[in-house]
Protein backbone atom coordinates (compact mmCIF):
# COMPACT_ATOMS: atom_id res chain seq x y z
CA UNK A 1 0.00 0.00 0.00
CA UNK A 2 1.78 3.12 -1.15
CA UNK A 3 -1.44 5.07 -1.53
CA UNK A 4 -1.63 8.02 0.79
CA UNK A 5 -3.85 7.10 3.68
CA UNK A 6 -6.48 9.60 4.68
CA UNK A 7 -8.76 9.64 7.68
CA UNK A 8 -12.34 8.73 6.82
CA UNK A 9 -14.86 11.32 7.87
CA UNK A 10 -17.21 9.67 10.35
CA UNK A 11 -21.00 9.90 10.06
CA UNK A 12 -23.37 10.21 7.12
CA UNK A 13 -22.05 10.52 3.54
CA UNK A 14 -21.56 14.06 2.27
CA UNK A 15 -24.07 13.96 -0.60
CA UNK A 16 -26.85 12.90 1.78
CA UNK A 17 -26.14 15.78 4.15
CA UNK A 18 -26.03 18.19 1.22
CA UNK A 19 -29.33 17.01 -0.24
CA UNK A 20 -31.05 17.07 3.10
CA UNK A 21 -29.73 20.58 3.81
CA UNK A 22 -30.89 21.91 0.47
CA UNK A 23 -34.31 20.36 0.99
CA UNK A 24 -34.57 21.87 4.45
CA UNK A 25 -33.58 25.32 3.21
CA UNK A 26 -36.13 25.10 0.37
CA UNK A 27 -38.94 24.16 2.74
CA UNK A 28 -37.98 26.98 5.13
CA UNK A 29 -37.63 29.61 2.45
CA UNK A 30 -40.64 28.64 0.38
CA UNK A 31 -43.14 30.82 2.34
CA UNK A 32 -40.84 33.83 1.94
CA UNK A 33 -40.45 33.21 -1.73
CA UNK A 34 -44.21 32.84 -2.09
CA UNK A 35 -44.69 36.07 -0.14
CA UNK A 36 -42.37 38.05 -2.41
CA UNK A 37 -43.83 36.42 -5.51
CA UNK A 38 -47.43 37.09 -4.48
CA UNK A 39 -46.65 40.71 -3.70
CA UNK A 40 -45.88 41.37 -7.38
CA UNK A 41 -48.91 39.51 -8.79
CA UNK A 42 -52.25 40.99 -9.69
CA UNK A 43 -55.27 39.86 -7.70
CA UNK A 44 -56.46 37.70 -10.61
CA UNK A 45 -53.11 35.97 -10.96
CA UNK A 46 -53.19 35.16 -7.25
CA UNK A 47 -56.25 33.01 -7.62
CA UNK A 48 -55.34 31.05 -10.76
CA UNK A 49 -55.02 27.31 -10.55
CA UNK A 50 -52.51 25.91 -11.30
CA UNK A 51 -50.49 28.71 -9.60
CA UNK A 52 -48.35 31.01 -11.75
CA UNK A 53 -44.69 30.61 -10.68
CA UNK A 54 -43.59 33.88 -12.20
CA UNK A 55 -46.05 36.53 -13.38
CA UNK A 56 -45.69 37.61 -17.01
CA UNK A 57 -45.80 41.27 -16.00
CA UNK A 58 -44.81 41.83 -12.34
CA UNK A 59 -46.80 44.66 -10.84
CA UNK A 60 -45.80 47.23 -8.23
CA UNK A 61 -49.49 48.09 -7.71
CA UNK A 62 -49.67 46.25 -4.39
CA UNK A 63 -46.72 48.20 -3.03
CA UNK A 64 -48.29 51.45 -4.17
CA UNK A 65 -51.48 50.57 -2.31
CA UNK A 66 -49.57 49.64 0.82
CA UNK A 67 -47.22 52.59 0.86
CA UNK A 68 -49.55 55.37 -0.27
CA UNK A 69 -53.16 54.31 0.29
CA UNK A 70 -53.01 52.47 3.63
CA UNK A 71 -51.98 53.15 7.22
CA UNK A 72 -48.96 50.85 6.86
CA UNK A 73 -46.28 53.61 6.84
CA UNK A 74 -47.71 55.05 10.04
CA UNK A 75 -47.91 51.57 11.62
CA UNK A 76 -44.36 50.90 10.50
CA UNK A 77 -43.20 53.98 12.38
CA UNK A 78 -45.22 52.92 15.44
CA UNK A 79 -43.69 49.45 15.30
CA UNK A 80 -40.19 50.89 15.09
CA UNK A 81 -40.73 53.26 18.02
CA UNK A 82 -42.30 50.59 20.20
CA UNK A 83 -39.87 47.77 19.34
CA UNK A 84 -36.77 49.92 19.64
CA UNK A 85 -38.06 51.46 22.85
CA UNK A 86 -38.96 48.22 24.57
CA UNK A 87 -35.81 46.47 23.34
CA UNK A 88 -33.59 49.26 24.62
CA UNK A 89 -35.38 49.35 27.96
CA UNK A 90 -35.28 45.56 28.33
CA UNK A 91 -31.59 45.50 27.40
CA UNK A 92 -30.59 48.14 29.95
CA UNK A 93 -32.54 46.48 32.76
CA UNK A 94 -31.39 43.01 31.74
CA UNK A 95 -27.72 44.07 31.74
CA UNK A 96 -27.83 45.27 35.33
CA UNK A 97 -30.04 42.44 36.60
CA UNK A 98 -27.95 39.78 34.88
CA UNK A 99 -24.67 41.25 36.08
CA UNK A 100 -26.00 41.11 39.61
CA UNK A 101 -27.12 37.51 39.22
CA UNK A 102 -23.91 36.45 37.50
CA UNK A 103 -21.33 38.11 39.74
CA UNK A 104 -22.75 38.57 43.22
CA UNK A 105 -23.94 36.17 45.85
CA UNK A 106 -26.80 37.39 47.95
CA UNK A 107 -29.55 35.97 50.08
CA UNK A 108 -32.49 34.60 48.13
CA UNK A 109 -30.72 34.67 44.75
CA UNK A 110 -32.04 31.28 43.53
CA UNK A 111 -35.58 32.24 44.57
CA UNK A 112 -35.32 35.61 42.80
CA UNK A 113 -33.91 33.98 39.69
CA UNK A 114 -36.78 31.53 39.46
CA UNK A 115 -39.20 34.35 40.17
CA UNK A 116 -37.92 36.13 37.08
CA UNK A 117 -39.14 33.21 35.02
CA UNK A 118 -42.61 33.05 36.55
CA UNK A 119 -43.73 35.90 34.33
CA UNK A 120 -42.72 33.82 31.34
CA UNK A 121 -44.84 30.87 32.50
CA UNK A 122 -48.20 32.67 32.62
CA UNK A 123 -50.30 32.17 29.49
CA UNK A 124 -50.85 35.35 27.48
CA UNK A 125 -54.60 35.09 27.73
CA UNK A 126 -54.42 35.02 31.52
CA UNK A 127 -52.63 38.32 31.84
CA UNK A 128 -54.38 40.37 29.17
CA UNK A 129 -57.20 41.54 31.41
CA UNK A 130 -55.05 42.38 34.46
CA UNK A 131 -52.60 44.20 32.21
CA UNK A 132 -55.40 46.12 30.54
CA UNK A 133 -56.82 47.18 33.90
CA UNK A 134 -53.37 48.25 35.05
CA UNK A 135 -52.68 50.23 31.89
CA UNK A 136 -56.07 51.95 32.13
CA UNK A 137 -55.44 52.98 35.72
CA UNK A 138 -52.06 54.33 34.70
CA UNK A 139 -53.69 56.07 31.74
CA UNK A 140 -51.40 54.25 29.31
CA UNK A 141 -53.91 52.53 27.03
CA UNK A 142 -53.35 53.65 23.44
CA UNK A 143 -49.95 55.15 24.15
CA UNK A 144 -46.45 54.18 23.03
CA UNK A 145 -45.36 53.85 26.64
CA UNK A 146 -48.15 51.37 27.36
CA UNK A 147 -46.97 48.93 24.69
CA UNK A 148 -43.28 49.57 25.38
CA UNK A 149 -43.74 48.65 29.04
CA UNK A 150 -45.87 45.61 28.29
CA UNK A 151 -43.37 44.29 25.74
CA UNK A 152 -40.51 44.94 28.10
CA UNK A 153 -42.27 42.82 30.70
CA UNK A 154 -42.63 39.98 28.19
CA UNK A 155 -39.05 39.99 26.92
CA UNK A 156 -37.19 40.84 30.11
CA UNK A 157 -37.26 37.41 31.86
CA UNK A 158 -35.67 35.45 29.04
CA UNK A 159 -33.25 38.31 28.32
CA UNK A 160 -32.09 38.23 31.94
CA UNK A 161 -31.53 34.49 31.78
CA UNK A 162 -29.69 34.63 28.49
CA UNK A 163 -27.39 37.41 29.62
CA UNK A 164 -26.79 35.88 33.04
CA UNK A 165 -25.44 32.71 31.50
CA UNK A 166 -23.41 34.74 29.04
CA UNK A 167 -21.83 36.88 31.76
CA UNK A 168 -21.07 33.77 33.80
CA UNK A 169 -19.00 32.42 30.92
CA UNK A 170 -16.68 35.41 30.97
CA UNK A 171 -13.69 34.55 33.17
CA UNK A 172 -14.03 36.33 36.49
CA UNK A 173 -10.24 36.86 36.58
CA UNK A 174 -10.63 39.47 33.86
CA UNK A 175 -12.73 41.59 36.19
CA UNK A 176 -10.42 40.91 39.09
CA UNK A 177 -7.51 42.06 36.97
CA UNK A 178 -9.47 45.19 36.09
CA UNK A 179 -10.29 45.80 39.76
CA UNK A 180 -6.59 45.52 40.62
CA UNK A 181 -5.88 47.89 37.74
CA UNK A 182 -8.13 50.34 39.52
CA UNK A 183 -11.52 49.89 37.86
CA UNK A 184 -14.75 50.35 39.77
CA UNK A 185 -17.54 47.79 39.44
CA UNK A 186 -19.26 49.90 36.81
CA UNK A 187 -16.03 50.35 34.88
CA UNK A 188 -15.57 46.57 35.00
CA UNK A 189 -19.02 46.11 33.55
CA UNK A 190 -18.72 48.72 30.82
CA UNK A 191 -15.06 48.37 29.85
CA UNK A 192 -14.54 44.61 30.26
CA UNK A 193 -17.69 42.54 30.56
CA UNK A 194 -19.95 44.31 28.06
CA UNK A 195 -17.42 44.59 25.21
CA UNK A 196 -16.78 40.86 25.60
CA UNK A 197 -20.51 40.10 25.70
CA UNK A 198 -21.37 41.60 22.33
CA UNK A 199 -22.56 38.26 20.89
CA UNK A 200 -24.76 37.75 23.95
CA UNK A 201 -26.06 41.31 23.77
CA UNK A 202 -26.78 40.86 20.06
CA UNK A 203 -28.75 37.66 20.72
CA UNK A 204 -30.79 39.37 23.40
CA UNK A 205 -31.39 42.38 21.19
CA UNK A 206 -32.55 40.31 18.25
CA UNK A 207 -34.74 38.14 20.47
CA UNK A 208 -36.41 41.13 22.14
CA UNK A 209 -36.79 43.07 18.91
CA UNK A 210 -38.28 40.19 16.91
CA UNK A 211 -40.64 39.23 19.71
CA UNK A 212 -42.04 42.73 20.03
CA UNK A 213 -42.05 43.33 16.27
CA UNK A 214 -44.24 40.27 15.68
CA UNK A 215 -46.46 40.52 18.74
CA UNK A 216 -50.17 40.60 17.91
CA UNK A 217 -52.53 39.92 20.83
CA UNK A 218 -51.36 42.63 23.22
CA UNK A 219 -51.13 45.14 20.40
CA UNK A 220 -54.68 44.26 19.40
CA UNK A 221 -55.99 44.83 22.93
CA UNK A 222 -53.95 47.79 24.14
CA UNK A 223 -53.63 49.81 20.93
CA UNK A 224 -57.00 50.43 19.38
CA UNK A 225 -56.19 53.88 18.03
CA UNK A 226 -54.47 54.00 14.64
CA UNK A 227 -51.92 56.46 16.02
CA UNK A 228 -50.27 53.63 18.01
CA UNK A 229 -51.26 50.49 16.09
CA UNK A 230 -48.40 48.24 15.01
CA UNK A 231 -47.66 46.37 11.77
CA UNK A 232 -49.17 42.96 12.68
CA UNK A 233 -52.48 44.75 13.34
CA UNK A 234 -52.06 46.58 10.06
CA UNK A 235 -51.73 43.28 8.22
CA UNK A 236 -54.87 41.98 9.81
CA UNK A 237 -56.73 45.12 8.76
CA UNK A 238 -56.45 44.14 5.11
CA UNK A 239 -58.86 41.32 5.88
CA UNK A 240 -62.33 42.73 6.15
CA UNK A 241 -65.61 40.93 6.70
CA UNK A 242 -66.15 40.47 2.98
CA UNK A 243 -62.80 40.12 1.25
CA UNK A 244 -59.06 40.14 1.75
CA UNK A 245 -56.64 42.06 -0.46
CA UNK A 246 -54.03 39.32 -0.55
CA UNK A 247 -51.71 41.23 -2.83
CA UNK A 248 -51.56 44.10 -0.38
CA UNK A 249 -51.17 41.72 2.55
CA UNK A 250 -48.17 40.16 0.84
CA UNK A 251 -46.62 43.51 -0.04
CA UNK A 252 -47.10 44.69 3.55
CA UNK A 253 -45.57 41.43 4.75
CA UNK A 254 -42.48 42.09 2.68
CA UNK A 255 -42.24 45.57 4.16
CA UNK A 256 -42.59 44.10 7.63
CA UNK A 257 -40.02 41.37 7.05
CA UNK A 258 -37.29 43.66 5.70
CA UNK A 259 -36.15 45.25 9.00
CA UNK A 260 -35.86 41.84 10.64
CA UNK A 261 -33.83 40.49 7.74
CA UNK A 262 -31.53 43.52 7.86
CA UNK A 263 -31.19 43.16 11.64
CA UNK A 264 -30.19 39.51 11.34
CA UNK A 265 -27.71 40.12 8.54
CA UNK A 266 -26.03 42.98 10.37
CA UNK A 267 -25.73 41.00 13.60
CA UNK A 268 -24.64 37.77 11.94
CA UNK A 269 -20.94 38.43 12.48
CA UNK A 270 -21.50 38.79 16.21
CA UNK A 271 -23.34 35.51 16.64
CA UNK A 272 -20.22 33.67 15.62
CA UNK A 273 -18.73 34.67 18.95
CA UNK A 274 -15.26 33.61 19.98
CA UNK A 275 -14.49 37.08 21.28
CA UNK A 276 -12.85 35.89 24.49
CA UNK A 277 -10.24 33.84 22.64
CA UNK A 278 -6.79 34.45 24.06
CA UNK A 279 -8.05 35.91 27.31
CA UNK A 280 -6.69 33.24 29.56
CA UNK A 281 -4.21 30.38 29.39
CA UNK A 282 -2.37 29.26 26.37
Amino acid sequence: MNKLQTLKRPGLPGWLILTASVLLVLVCLFPFWWMVLSSVKTLRELYTVPPIWWPAAPTWENYRTVLFESNIPRYFLNSIIISVGSTALALVLAIFASYGFARFNFKGKPLLQSFVLVGQLLPTAAIIVPLFVTLRVLNLVNTYWGLILVYMIITLPLSVWMLTSYFKNIPVELEEAAIIDGASRLECLFRITLPLSLPGLASVMVYAFVTTWNEFIFALCFATDSSVKTLPIGLAEFSTEFNTDWGAVMAASVVMTLPIAILFLSMQRLFVGGLTAGATKG
Partner: protein, 356 residues
Amino acid sequence: MAPVSINNVRKSYGALEVLHGVSIDIADGEFVVLVGPSGCGKSTLLRMLAGLEDISAGEISIGDRVVNGLQPKERDIAMVFQSYALYPHMTVEQNMGFSLKLARAPKEETRDRVAKVAAMLNLGDYLDRYPRQLSGGQRQRVAMGRAMVRNPEVFLFDEPLSNLDAKLRVQMRSEIKQNHHRLKTTTVYVTHDQIEAMTMADKIVVMHGGIVEQMGSPLELYDHPANLFVAGFIGSPAMNVIGGKVSGGGFVGDDGTRIALPFSVTEFEGREMKLGIRPEHLLLDANGHAAEIITIEPTGAETQVLLRLAGHEIVGVFRERILQKPGEILHVSLIPERIQLFDGKSGQRIDFREAA
Protein backbone atom coordinates in the same frame (compact mmCIF):
# COMPACT_ATOMS: atom_id res chain seq x y z
CA MET B 1 8.65 49.63 47.36
CA ALA B 2 7.32 48.99 50.81
CA PRO B 3 7.50 46.41 53.54
CA VAL B 4 4.44 44.22 54.07
CA SER B 5 3.26 42.95 57.38
CA ILE B 6 0.73 40.18 57.79
CA ASN B 7 -0.35 39.90 61.38
CA ASN B 8 -2.34 36.93 62.69
CA VAL B 9 -4.60 36.91 59.63
CA ARG B 10 -7.53 34.53 59.50
CA LYS B 11 -9.99 33.68 56.77
CA SER B 12 -13.22 31.83 57.19
CA TYR B 13 -16.03 30.98 54.81
CA GLY B 14 -19.01 30.71 57.12
CA ALA B 15 -18.07 28.25 59.84
CA LEU B 16 -15.15 26.86 57.86
CA GLU B 17 -11.83 28.46 58.71
CA VAL B 18 -9.21 28.05 55.98
CA LEU B 19 -6.45 30.28 57.36
CA HIS B 20 -5.73 29.82 61.05
CA GLY B 21 -3.79 32.89 62.06
CA VAL B 22 -0.94 33.57 59.67
CA SER B 23 1.80 36.08 60.45
CA ILE B 24 4.50 36.97 57.95
CA ASP B 25 6.83 39.97 57.86
CA ILE B 26 8.16 40.91 54.47
CA ALA B 27 11.02 43.36 54.26
CA ASP B 28 11.21 46.19 51.75
CA GLY B 29 12.29 44.82 48.38
CA GLU B 30 12.20 41.20 49.52
CA PHE B 31 11.14 38.37 47.19
CA VAL B 32 8.91 36.10 49.25
CA VAL B 33 7.51 32.85 47.91
CA LEU B 34 4.44 31.27 49.49
CA VAL B 35 4.63 27.59 48.75
CA GLY B 36 2.50 24.63 49.73
CA PRO B 37 0.27 21.90 48.36
CA SER B 38 -3.03 22.93 46.77
CA GLY B 39 -5.64 23.91 49.30
CA CYS B 40 -3.12 25.14 51.85
CA GLY B 41 -4.46 28.69 51.71
CA LYS B 42 -1.56 30.35 49.91
CA SER B 43 -3.66 31.76 47.07
CA THR B 44 -6.34 32.87 49.50
CA LEU B 45 -3.72 34.77 51.47
CA LEU B 46 -2.45 36.42 48.29
CA ARG B 47 -5.96 37.42 47.28
CA MET B 48 -6.50 38.92 50.73
CA LEU B 49 -3.30 40.89 50.25
CA ALA B 50 -4.62 42.08 46.89
CA GLY B 51 -7.99 43.01 48.33
CA LEU B 52 -9.96 40.48 46.30
CA GLU B 53 -10.99 38.62 49.47
CA ASP B 54 -12.12 40.07 52.78
CA ILE B 55 -9.89 39.65 55.80
CA SER B 56 -11.91 37.79 58.45
CA ALA B 57 -9.55 38.65 61.30
CA GLY B 58 -6.09 40.04 61.80
CA GLU B 59 -4.31 42.88 60.06
CA ILE B 60 -2.40 43.38 56.82
CA SER B 61 -0.34 46.49 56.26
CA ILE B 62 1.56 47.67 53.22
CA GLY B 63 4.14 50.34 54.00
CA ASP B 64 2.81 52.04 57.09
CA ARG B 65 -0.85 51.75 56.11
CA VAL B 66 -3.25 49.12 57.38
CA VAL B 67 -5.04 48.02 54.20
CA ASN B 68 -7.82 45.86 55.68
CA GLY B 69 -10.55 48.31 54.67
CA LEU B 70 -8.94 49.61 51.48
CA GLN B 71 -10.08 48.81 47.94
CA PRO B 72 -7.54 47.00 45.72
CA LYS B 73 -6.83 50.18 43.77
CA GLU B 74 -5.99 52.09 46.95
CA ARG B 75 -3.43 49.49 48.04
CA ASP B 76 -0.86 50.30 45.37
CA ILE B 77 -0.30 46.68 44.37
CA ALA B 78 -0.22 44.91 41.02
CA MET B 79 -1.04 41.28 40.44
CA VAL B 80 -0.17 38.70 37.81
CA PHE B 81 -2.76 35.96 37.52
CA GLN B 82 -2.24 32.29 36.83
CA SER B 83 -4.43 32.54 33.73
CA TYR B 84 -2.80 35.89 32.79
CA ALA B 85 -6.28 37.47 32.59
CA LEU B 86 -5.36 39.68 29.65
CA TYR B 87 -8.24 41.73 28.27
CA PRO B 88 -8.96 39.93 25.00
CA HIS B 89 -10.56 42.91 23.29
CA MET B 90 -7.58 45.17 23.85
CA THR B 91 -4.18 45.23 22.17
CA VAL B 92 -1.00 44.62 24.12
CA GLU B 93 -0.50 48.36 24.42
CA GLN B 94 -4.05 48.91 25.67
CA ASN B 95 -3.74 46.01 28.10
CA MET B 96 -0.58 47.42 29.59
CA GLY B 97 -1.87 50.97 29.70
CA PHE B 98 -5.32 50.12 31.09
CA SER B 99 -4.53 51.00 34.69
CA LEU B 100 -3.06 54.36 33.67
CA LYS B 101 -6.06 55.05 31.49
CA LEU B 102 -8.38 54.34 34.43
CA ALA B 103 -6.25 56.67 36.53
CA ARG B 104 -6.73 59.32 33.80
CA ALA B 105 -3.00 59.72 33.22
CA PRO B 106 -2.02 61.94 30.26
CA LYS B 107 -1.90 60.00 27.00
CA GLU B 108 1.76 60.76 26.20
CA GLU B 109 2.88 59.66 29.64
CA THR B 110 0.93 56.41 29.30
CA ARG B 111 2.47 55.74 25.92
CA ASP B 112 5.98 56.45 27.20
CA ARG B 113 5.68 54.22 30.22
CA VAL B 114 4.15 51.37 28.23
CA ALA B 115 6.90 51.67 25.62
CA LYS B 116 9.59 51.64 28.27
CA VAL B 117 8.26 48.51 29.98
CA ALA B 118 7.59 46.83 26.63
CA ALA B 119 11.20 47.40 25.64
CA MET B 120 12.36 45.93 28.93
CA LEU B 121 10.27 42.79 28.29
CA ASN B 122 11.08 42.52 24.56
CA LEU B 123 7.47 43.24 23.67
CA GLY B 124 8.16 46.31 21.56
CA ASP B 125 7.17 44.60 18.30
CA TYR B 126 3.92 43.25 19.67
CA LEU B 127 2.22 46.39 20.97
CA ASP B 128 -0.49 46.30 18.30
CA ARG B 129 -1.24 42.61 18.64
CA TYR B 130 -4.17 41.11 20.48
CA PRO B 131 -3.59 38.53 23.23
CA ARG B 132 -4.93 35.73 21.03
CA GLN B 133 -2.13 36.42 18.54
CA LEU B 134 0.60 35.85 21.15
CA SER B 135 2.36 32.73 22.36
CA GLY B 136 2.09 31.57 25.96
CA GLY B 137 5.37 33.13 26.98
CA GLN B 138 4.51 36.44 25.34
CA ARG B 139 1.15 36.53 27.10
CA GLN B 140 2.93 35.87 30.35
CA ARG B 141 5.23 38.82 29.64
CA VAL B 142 2.32 41.11 28.81
CA ALA B 143 0.70 40.14 32.10
CA MET B 144 3.93 41.08 33.89
CA GLY B 145 4.25 44.25 31.85
CA ARG B 146 0.75 45.28 32.82
CA ALA B 147 1.80 44.98 36.44
CA MET B 148 5.15 46.75 35.95
CA VAL B 149 3.73 49.76 34.10
CA ARG B 150 2.02 50.85 37.28
CA ASN B 151 5.22 50.87 39.27
CA PRO B 152 3.45 49.54 42.36
CA GLU B 153 4.68 49.18 45.94
CA VAL B 154 4.18 45.41 45.84
CA PHE B 155 4.01 42.78 43.09
CA LEU B 156 1.75 39.81 43.64
CA PHE B 157 2.19 36.68 41.53
CA ASP B 158 -0.38 33.88 41.64
CA GLU B 159 1.23 30.74 40.15
CA PRO B 160 2.24 32.72 37.05
CA LEU B 161 4.23 29.96 35.40
CA SER B 162 2.01 26.93 35.82
CA ASN B 163 0.50 27.23 32.34
CA LEU B 164 3.84 27.22 30.56
CA ASP B 165 5.80 24.24 29.33
CA ALA B 166 8.86 23.12 31.26
CA LYS B 167 11.49 24.90 29.16
CA LEU B 168 9.66 28.21 29.02
CA ARG B 169 9.04 27.98 32.74
CA VAL B 170 12.76 27.90 33.47
CA GLN B 171 13.32 30.85 31.15
CA MET B 172 10.50 32.95 32.62
CA ARG B 173 11.69 32.07 36.11
CA SER B 174 15.00 33.75 35.48
CA GLU B 175 13.33 36.68 33.70
CA ILE B 176 11.13 37.32 36.74
CA LYS B 177 14.18 37.08 38.94
CA GLN B 178 16.12 39.53 36.73
CA ASN B 179 13.23 41.99 36.76
CA HIS B 180 13.15 41.81 40.52
CA HIS B 181 16.85 42.56 40.65
CA ARG B 182 16.34 45.55 38.42
CA LEU B 183 13.20 46.97 40.00
CA LYS B 184 13.75 45.85 43.59
CA THR B 185 10.01 45.87 44.21
CA THR B 186 8.67 43.91 47.15
CA THR B 187 7.26 40.71 45.68
CA VAL B 188 4.95 38.02 46.99
CA TYR B 189 4.89 34.98 44.76
CA VAL B 190 2.60 31.99 45.17
CA THR B 191 3.47 28.59 43.77
CA HIS B 192 3.04 24.91 44.51
CA ASP B 193 6.37 24.15 42.86
CA GLN B 194 9.15 23.92 45.42
CA ILE B 195 11.82 24.31 42.73
CA GLU B 196 10.41 27.72 41.80
CA ALA B 197 10.42 28.55 45.48
CA MET B 198 14.00 27.40 46.01
CA THR B 199 15.39 29.15 42.95
CA MET B 200 13.62 32.49 43.21
CA ALA B 201 12.97 33.29 46.84
CA ASP B 202 14.83 35.46 49.29
CA LYS B 203 12.48 33.96 51.82
CA ILE B 204 10.24 30.93 51.52
CA VAL B 205 7.06 30.55 53.51
CA VAL B 206 5.89 26.93 53.58
CA MET B 207 2.16 26.70 54.19
CA HIS B 208 0.10 23.63 54.94
CA GLY B 209 -3.53 23.33 56.02
CA GLY B 210 -3.97 27.05 56.63
CA ILE B 211 -0.93 27.58 58.85
CA VAL B 212 2.68 28.56 58.26
CA GLU B 213 4.85 25.48 58.79
CA GLN B 214 8.13 27.32 58.49
CA MET B 215 9.70 30.37 56.91
CA GLY B 216 13.27 31.17 56.12
CA SER B 217 15.83 31.35 53.37
CA PRO B 218 15.76 28.49 50.85
CA LEU B 219 18.89 26.80 52.18
CA GLU B 220 17.83 27.25 55.79
CA LEU B 221 14.65 25.35 55.00
CA TYR B 222 16.57 22.74 53.09
CA ASP B 223 19.19 22.15 55.75
CA HIS B 224 17.08 22.62 58.83
CA PRO B 225 13.44 21.81 58.11
CA ALA B 226 11.30 22.46 61.16
CA ASN B 227 9.27 19.30 60.75
CA LEU B 228 8.62 16.28 58.57
CA PHE B 229 6.21 18.17 56.30
CA VAL B 230 8.77 20.81 55.32
CA ALA B 231 11.46 18.13 55.09
CA GLY B 232 9.33 16.19 52.61
CA PHE B 233 8.09 19.22 50.68
CA ILE B 234 11.35 21.05 50.06
CA GLY B 235 13.88 19.20 47.97
CA SER B 236 13.61 16.81 45.06
CA PRO B 237 13.95 13.88 45.36
CA ALA B 238 12.40 14.27 48.79
CA MET B 239 14.21 13.61 52.04
CA ASN B 240 14.28 9.94 53.02
CA VAL B 241 12.47 9.08 56.22
CA ILE B 242 13.18 5.96 58.25
CA GLY B 243 10.92 5.02 61.15
CA GLY B 244 12.36 3.57 64.35
CA LYS B 245 13.34 4.56 67.87
CA VAL B 246 16.26 5.69 69.98
CA SER B 247 17.92 2.81 71.75
CA GLY B 248 21.30 2.26 73.35
CA GLY B 249 22.59 5.72 72.40
CA GLY B 250 21.86 5.28 68.68
CA PHE B 251 18.97 4.96 66.26
CA VAL B 252 17.38 1.57 65.62
CA GLY B 253 15.22 1.20 62.53
CA ASP B 254 11.91 -0.68 62.52
CA ASP B 255 13.68 -3.82 61.32
CA GLY B 256 16.50 -3.58 63.88
CA THR B 257 19.13 -1.88 61.71
CA ARG B 258 21.39 0.23 63.93
CA ILE B 259 22.41 3.63 62.64
CA ALA B 260 25.07 5.53 64.53
CA LEU B 261 24.35 9.15 65.48
CA PRO B 262 26.95 11.89 65.89
CA PHE B 263 25.21 13.37 68.90
CA SER B 264 24.13 12.14 72.30
CA VAL B 265 20.55 10.97 72.45
CA THR B 266 20.54 9.35 75.87
CA GLU B 267 17.83 11.72 77.08
CA PHE B 268 15.49 10.33 74.37
CA GLU B 269 16.14 6.65 75.15
CA GLY B 270 13.22 4.51 73.99
CA ARG B 271 11.38 7.35 72.20
CA GLU B 272 9.73 6.75 68.79
CA MET B 273 11.63 8.77 66.22
CA LYS B 274 11.89 9.27 62.51
CA LEU B 275 15.30 9.63 60.95
CA GLY B 276 15.65 11.91 57.93
CA ILE B 277 18.51 11.91 55.44
CA ARG B 278 18.73 13.71 52.09
CA PRO B 279 19.44 11.47 49.07
CA GLU B 280 22.78 13.18 48.40
CA HIS B 281 23.92 12.47 51.94
CA LEU B 282 24.21 8.74 51.34
CA LEU B 283 27.76 7.60 50.54
CA LEU B 284 29.06 4.47 48.88
CA ASP B 285 30.97 2.77 51.66
CA ALA B 286 32.15 -0.85 51.65
CA ASN B 287 31.81 -0.89 55.43
CA GLY B 288 28.35 0.67 55.39
CA HIS B 289 24.86 -0.76 55.59
CA ALA B 290 23.88 -3.43 53.09
CA ALA B 291 20.97 -2.19 51.01
CA GLU B 292 19.13 -4.00 48.24
CA ILE B 293 18.93 -2.11 44.94
CA ILE B 294 15.37 -1.77 43.63
CA THR B 295 15.89 0.48 40.61
CA ILE B 296 18.74 2.48 39.12
CA GLU B 297 18.18 5.72 37.21
CA PRO B 298 21.34 7.18 35.69
CA THR B 299 20.93 10.84 34.66
CA GLY B 300 24.47 11.18 33.35
CA ALA B 301 25.99 13.52 35.88
CA GLU B 302 24.70 11.47 38.75
CA THR B 303 22.82 8.28 39.45
CA GLN B 304 19.61 7.95 41.42
CA VAL B 305 19.22 4.61 43.14
CA LEU B 306 16.14 3.36 44.92
CA LEU B 307 17.28 1.19 47.81
CA ARG B 308 15.72 -0.88 50.55
CA LEU B 309 17.35 0.07 53.82
CA ALA B 310 16.14 -0.66 57.35
CA GLY B 311 12.82 -1.85 55.93
CA HIS B 312 12.16 1.44 54.08
CA GLU B 313 12.53 2.41 50.45
CA ILE B 314 15.01 5.24 50.26
CA VAL B 315 16.57 7.17 47.41
CA GLY B 316 20.26 7.78 47.10
CA VAL B 317 21.91 10.17 44.65
CA PHE B 318 25.53 9.35 43.87
CA ARG B 319 28.14 11.13 41.79
CA GLU B 320 29.73 7.75 41.07
CA ARG B 321 28.47 5.42 38.38
CA ILE B 322 26.69 2.42 39.85
CA LEU B 323 27.58 -0.81 38.07
CA GLN B 324 25.47 -3.21 40.11
CA LYS B 325 22.09 -4.46 38.91
CA PRO B 326 18.70 -4.30 40.63
CA GLY B 327 18.43 -7.11 43.19
CA GLU B 328 22.10 -6.86 44.11
CA ILE B 329 23.43 -5.34 47.30
CA LEU B 330 24.94 -1.88 47.59
CA HIS B 331 26.84 -0.84 50.70
CA VAL B 332 26.07 2.70 51.79
CA SER B 333 26.63 4.84 54.84
CA LEU B 334 24.82 7.96 56.05
CA ILE B 335 26.83 11.11 56.59
CA PRO B 336 26.36 11.33 60.37
CA GLU B 337 26.38 15.16 60.57
CA ARG B 338 23.58 15.31 57.99
CA ILE B 339 21.22 13.03 59.87
CA GLN B 340 18.11 14.71 61.24
CA LEU B 341 15.78 13.29 63.85
CA PHE B 342 12.09 14.04 64.02
CA ASP B 343 9.71 13.27 66.86
CA GLY B 344 7.74 10.16 65.92
CA LYS B 345 4.40 11.66 66.97
CA SER B 346 4.50 15.41 66.32
CA GLY B 347 6.90 15.26 63.37
CA GLN B 348 8.84 18.22 64.80
CA ARG B 349 12.59 18.20 64.26
CA ILE B 350 14.67 17.71 67.37
CA ASP B 351 17.45 20.24 67.27
CA PHE B 352 20.59 18.64 68.64
CA ARG B 353 22.77 21.56 67.79
CA GLU B 354 20.95 23.54 70.46
CA ALA B 355 20.80 20.63 72.88
CA ALA B 356 24.52 20.04 72.58
